[in-house]
Symmetry: C2
């Protein structure tokens, strides 16, 4: 049911079928190297989020550079990561239902696959699954530090869950999951700092309360690409869960950096390569990538290196670029690169990554074609 790959290793760029998911391997590797340096200097650990890339191949590149494992949002993602050789996974999410928990427990026979809870019933549910598979499951308490999704409030509620985990013979208490998702895309460094200051305060309060009660948090996890420097410097978070830094999307590029200038710490390394299938007028180029090839939940993609061009609309299979003020207008049949608005759901639309060396040079050449192995891992 998965499609044939749009390219083969060794292909030149023009041979890649469209629309295809392209990784600029040079920029990608620089992003991984830079983040590895930054976390080392900050004295924290990196557990990058695999929900973004859906690929053991990417996870192993990160682990090679010092990452301690991977995060997943779904048990089915964790299955793909473990099968691909990732030995330490945190499912940074709630998992409900006996069949999913049975899979989670079984995975723990092969690897360390931790999970989060935010309800007392989850303790007995996960414990039963762990007992059935004769494993001990390391379990974290998720606290809501501002994201407004899952999680208990910081403080007493977290203590009660942590105690129940620690008291269970089939579970070990792993620490806290304290991710502030909605802070990542606040545009100014001040807005992000306010949000993360509040997250740090709630997390610190909870870590201290637990310590007073004899419960040590081995993992205090959170942070994304928009705020990780704040959590890294907090003194309380010890594992960063950034994902998008590896590829860097157009929405993150709308953030202002710490100095108020552009947030250009990381380079755009992910593109959708599309072909112009119609040039109905001097003002418009229609490409063969719509929102089934490039997710638009966080805004339209941005055409790469085409000054004056603006994407004005995407339907399922069409993308319309306003090229009124573009000097060298793309012609019918030409390929264009689009920077996706949001990496994660864009990657999830494709079966294959096409890794290109020297992407923006005349020598561009396909080096890797690797599967988006956990694409569609919804369960």
């Amino acid at each position: 049911m998965s499609m044939n790959p749009p390219a083969e290793p060794g292909d030149e760029l023009w041979q890649v079928d469209t629309p295809a998911l392209i990784v600029d391997l040079d920029a990608f590797e620089r992003n991984l190297d830079l983040m590895a340096d930054m976390v080392t200097q900050a004295g924290v650990k990196l557990r990058p989020h695999a929900k973004m890339h859906k690929s053991p191949w990417v996870a192993l590149q990160q682990i090679e550079r010092g990452a301690i494992g991977a995060c997943c949002q779904k048990v089915s993602e964790a299955e793909v990561m473990v099968a691909g050789g990732v030995a330490d996974v945190l499912v940074s999410n709630q998992v409900v239902g006996a069949p999913k928990l049975a899979k989670l427990a079984k995975l723990n026979q092969q690897a360390s696959v931790r999970v989060c809870i935010d309800h007392i019933d989850a303790v007995s549910e996960i414990s039963a699954a762990a007992e059935a598979e004769r494993v001990v499951i390391d379990t974290l308490v998720e606290i809501d530090v501002g994201a407004g999704r899952c999680g208990v409030q910081p403080g007493q509620a977290a203590l009660e869950l942590a105690r129940a985990i620690a008291a269970d013979p089939h579970l070990s208490f792993g620490g806290l999951q304290a991710y502030h998702g909605s802070a990542q895309h606040r545009r100014t460094p001040q807005e992000r700092k306010e949000a993360i200051d509040s997250a740090i305060a709630g997390t610190t309060e909870t870590v201290n309360l637990l310590a007073e009660n004899g419960l040590e948090c081995a993992i205090v996890g959170g942070a994304g690409t928009g705020t990780f420097e704040l959590e890294a410097a907090s003194g309380v978070y010890n594992e960063l869960q950034c994902g998008s830094y590896a590829f860097m999307d157009a929405d993150y590029a709308k953030n202002k950096g710490a100095d108020g200038g552009p947030f250009d710490t990381f380079e755009h390394a992910l593109f959708v390569r599309a072909a112009v299938m119609s040039r109905p007028s001097e003002r418009s180029a229609v490409v063969d990538a719509g929102h089934k090839a490039c997710a638009i939940d966080s805004g339209l993609p941005v055409p790469w290196a085409m000054a004056g061009a603006e994407m004005t609309g995407m339907s399922d299979e069409h993308g319309v670029i306003d090229i009124t003020t573009v000097n060298e207008k793309p012609e019918r049949g030409d390929a264009v690169l689009l920077i996706p608005g949001h990496c994660d759901p864009t990657v999830n639309l494709h079966d294959w990554y096409v890794g290109v060396r020297g992407l923006h040079t005349p020598q561009a050449r396909v080096e890797h074609v690797w599967p988006v192995a956990a694409r569609g891992a919804l369960f």
Copy 2:
């Protein structure tokens, strides 16, 4: 690389893993029957769009009820439809590039796979591909009747392309592609009528001009679920390309019907079944379906049969429902049905359809599990 199915035929509803794509088979079949009756009464043909359902199984159900074939947007979709037994396909889109055209030509050795053009260069490109595979490709001229995407303007420009097609020994002139996409979701019947009146005028002008020049349009195709009754009654369109009528999404349900009341000609037959994974407060239920399971390009999904509930946000793997005013609040672990905002891209996120008989009854039972065979068919 595709995921295991979330259910097996014979399963009860509670056994279906979440999040899963559910088809209410009873409503689905009623939708197909109703449209079949409507097109018969109108004296036009139905060529439903497979970009919506991505499944030969669905296409064959439509053909069994009188549909003459299927539309696709991509050659790779057409490959899946032909492999699944659909003998008459129209690629209702531009196809650019020799490799794609070679595939299109090869497919014509097995089935009738027509295509559209909006540029004179396409004539020689498609002709070369047809000659190489020793086939004749039926080719339509796409005219822009208001959608503002691909297509030449009605009238003279279309005549020139039609003449070039008719003069080519490896092509046959098939008619006109005249779809007004953006008219489908205009909310009032007056707005839709204005848009389609204009489309009908441009199409009629073109058909007449071609006839005066000895070129007959065997196919005059267009129409979607929002406007098909207008095209059906136009006297000029003879093939309707509706897709969403089979499943009916939340965005179409926001249209007003011809009488100014709700547009309820068709029933909601497609759902994402999700589980509540957290109940962080009395006001909020968080489900395990985000926009990787339910596309949000046309708005958030609508919870089914939960009066007062409102979806307030979706991130990649989380959906948040405001249940403040809901009387019977869903508990942690309960399943809910979501009506997707937009069928087409939602279907494209899933590997499997779970077809349920008696969905909204206590006897609900899985009857079919069939693949979304053309999911990810981007090429």
